[in-house]
């Protein structure tokens, strides 16, 4: 059984078929890429998978469970976490607190325990600190734990967003253009990090990216999206040498 099964997924906005009959299967532990020209509907697929939009048609299964039409919160609890194309951090919170916010549903104590500082508060907060620092270390951000997230340089903000998503302990991680705005060195480093995350956290990853070096370098399989529809799907090397893909990117 695939980790993620999507069939016949469609949504239109005012008559425009933003995503039309989309399908995809991702196996557990896969590093999967989604590419396509600007406006092809890639981010819309992410928004459908995470419940930001409700699909007009189609079915989404995560690990065998139907999650179609569920709310963003329920879908996150079911095991999908994501990052955003335009970074969305909690800018006025510290780097550490950003990750701790991600741990919100896994380490809990009551409001009263928090206000009255009952023993459970100290115990759980300590667990959260330890777990958050562990995750930050993976991204080499542990030295900046006390900084405000908004003050981090761009590349580190992208990493922190991944760290926060991982803190929710997902089965499937969606990365929306993780290398956007990075220089070649940073991109190279990010590729290593993504691979490490997959191995270390035993994660399944779906990413949207324009950087063909990154896509070709780390993704095992690809889906190419064009005008909201699947153009082609398969092993990375095969897809990237497909003439139809080259045409879609470069035009006739």
């Amino acid at each position: 059984m695939a980790m993620l099964e999507v069939n016949n997924l469609s949504i239109s906005f005012g008559g425009l078929h933003a995503v039309d009959n989309f399908y995809m299967n991702i196996e557990k532990g896969q590093l999967y890429g989604m590419i396509g020209p600007n406006g092809a509907g890639k981010t819309t697929v992410f928004n459908l998978l995470t419940g930001v939009y409700k699909p007009d048609e189609g079915i989404i299964r995560l690990d065998g469970t139907d999650i179609t039409g569920k709310s963003t919160i329920e879908i996150n609890k079911a095991g999908i976490a994501r990052t955003f194309q335009n970074i969305r951090l909690f800018k006025e919170l510290s780097v550490l607190d950003n990750v701790k916010a991600g741990l919100h549903n896994h380490h809990t104590y009551s409001t009263l325990a928090g206000i009255l500082r009952l023993p459970s508060y100290y115990k759980v907060e300590k667990e959260m600190d330890e777990r958050a620092m562990e995750i930050l270390k993976v991204f080499d951000l542990d030295g900046e734990a006390e900084y405000l997230a908004g003050n981090l340089p761009y590349g580190k903000q992208r990493k922190l967003e991944i760290a926060r998503a991982l803190a929710t302990d997902p089965k499937l991680l969606l990365l929306d253009e993780p290398a956007a705005g990075m220089n070649p060195n940073e991109t190279q480093e990010l590729m290593d990090t993504i691979r490490f995350v997959r191995d270390h956290f035993d994660m399944t990853i779906l990413l949207i990216e324009h950087d063909m070096k990154l896509v070709g370098g780390i993704c095992e399989e690809l889906t190419v999206l064009n005008f909201g529809q699947v153009l082609t799907q398969g092993k990375t090397s095969a897809v990237l040498s497909d003439p139809a893909v080259i045409t879609a990117y470069l035009g006739e």
Binding site: S71, I73, N76, A81, L89, F90, E92, D97, A101, I115
Partner: protein, 353 residues
């Protein structure tokens, strides 16, 4: 962790400031250095400090603009005073009765907070603000036409006038429409005010530095990202709003037990705005700043009383000037440049020496 101890120290400073202020006032009072004017201001200052801190929870921590905070204060003031009037003969231990009144004021305001919050918190930004303004005005208006009396047959209620209550001869008015509640025992004191401030600070500061506070601030910083990591927006917005309402209700009870007569018209739009002024002037999200702003701005008009007609004018000018000084990007630049220069000249001075 290092950070926790830093927050702990910051919070201690805030509590310490309040306690120190209490001690200083006590010393001044016992040595006769406190004017009767200022003595009269002590309880109102405590009321506005609590109000400002509670509003900061909504505006600064939760990031929503509320223009109807006086409404919650009003509910608390009336609920608390009403309770005191009803139990004046049965509960004779004053501190206990007053503590219960405060509790009831807080609970009543919290109930209104939930009732209003559930439909309203779906709205965003200025629309939320205007609806809170509307609720504040509605609460005030309705209390203005409410009559409640009690006689040997029990409670009587009317929304028309005193005579439609149809009370027996032994009936006593409890709530008299625009006349409000009269003859409230003066149970508030500076000590009670300080204790309530400390309770407020304890609740707000501990909430902010907990899992729930983190969720509330995460939503403030980015709604969409917060839902993406499974944080329930409505729940936490409502939590901040309700706790804030409860604390404002507490302030209201303290306020009403400092006056003999309580009228709903006191809790108008200007009171809500005043609380907002404290919050913004003291620094949005800065709890200690709210306290200082509330103290200074409550005391300032009284300090200027000698200037009679000019005092509100000066108040307005000071307010505008302070806002420009604190918030205008040009002023902020200028201040940081000035600081740099001072640092330089001091460093140079040291070298010379």
């Amino acid at each position: 962790m290092k950070k926790n101890s830093k927050i702990f120290r910051q919070n201690l400073i805030t509590y310490g400031m309040v306690i120190a202020a209490f001690i200083v006032v006590q010393i001044l009072q016992s040595t006769g250095h406190l004017s009767s004017l200022f003595t009269g201001l002590l309880v109102p200052i405590c009321v506005y400090v609590i109000l400002a801190v509670s509003l900061n929870l909504v505006v600064g921590i939760s990031g929503e603009l509320s223009l109807g905070h006086a409404g919650f204060m009003c509910v608390g003031a009336f609920a608390g005073a009403f309770f005191t009037k009803c139990t004046q003969d049965t509960i004779t231990m004053v501190p206990l009765r007053f503590a219960l009144a405060v509790l009831i004021g807080a609970i009543a305001a919290a109930i209104f907070g939930i009732l209003i919050g559930i439909p309203v918190l779906r709205l965003k930004g200025d629309y939320l603000a205007i609806v809170t303004l509307a609720f504040g005005e509605i609460i005030k208006n309705i209390l203005n036409v409410f009559y409640i009396g009690r006689d040997s047959n029990g409670f009587h209620m009317s929304m028309k006038d005193q005579f439609s209550l149809g009370m027996e001869a032994d009936g006593k008015m409890l709530l008299g429409g625009p006349q409000g509640i009269t003859g409230i025992p003066k149970n508030s004191s500076f000590l009670a005010g300080i204790i309530l401030i400390l309770i407020t600070l304890f609740i707000v500061l501990n909430l902010i530095n907990s899992r729930d506070g983190r969720a509330i601030m995460a939503i403030r910083d980015n709604r969409i990202a917060a839902t993406s990591i499974g944080i329930n927006i409505t729940k936490y917005k409502l939590m901040a709003f309700t706790i804030s309402a409860a604390l404002a209700g507490m302030a209201g009870t303290l306020y009403s037990h400092n006056l003999a007569t309580l009228q709903a018209s006191k809790f108008n739009f200007n009171t809500s705005i005043l609380a907002l002024v404290f919050v913004v002037l003291g620094g949005i999200g800065n709890i200690r700043g709210s306290i200082i702003a509330a103290v200074v701005l409550t005391a300032l008009p009284e300090m200027l009383r000698g200037l009679s007609n000019l005092r509100m004018l000066i108040y307005a000018i000071v307010l505008i000037a302070m806002m420009l000084f604190n918030w205008a990007p040009a002023a902020i630049d200028w201040r940081s440049r000035l600081k740099e220069r001072l640092k330089h000249s001091r460093a140079n001075g040291k070298e010379a020496a």
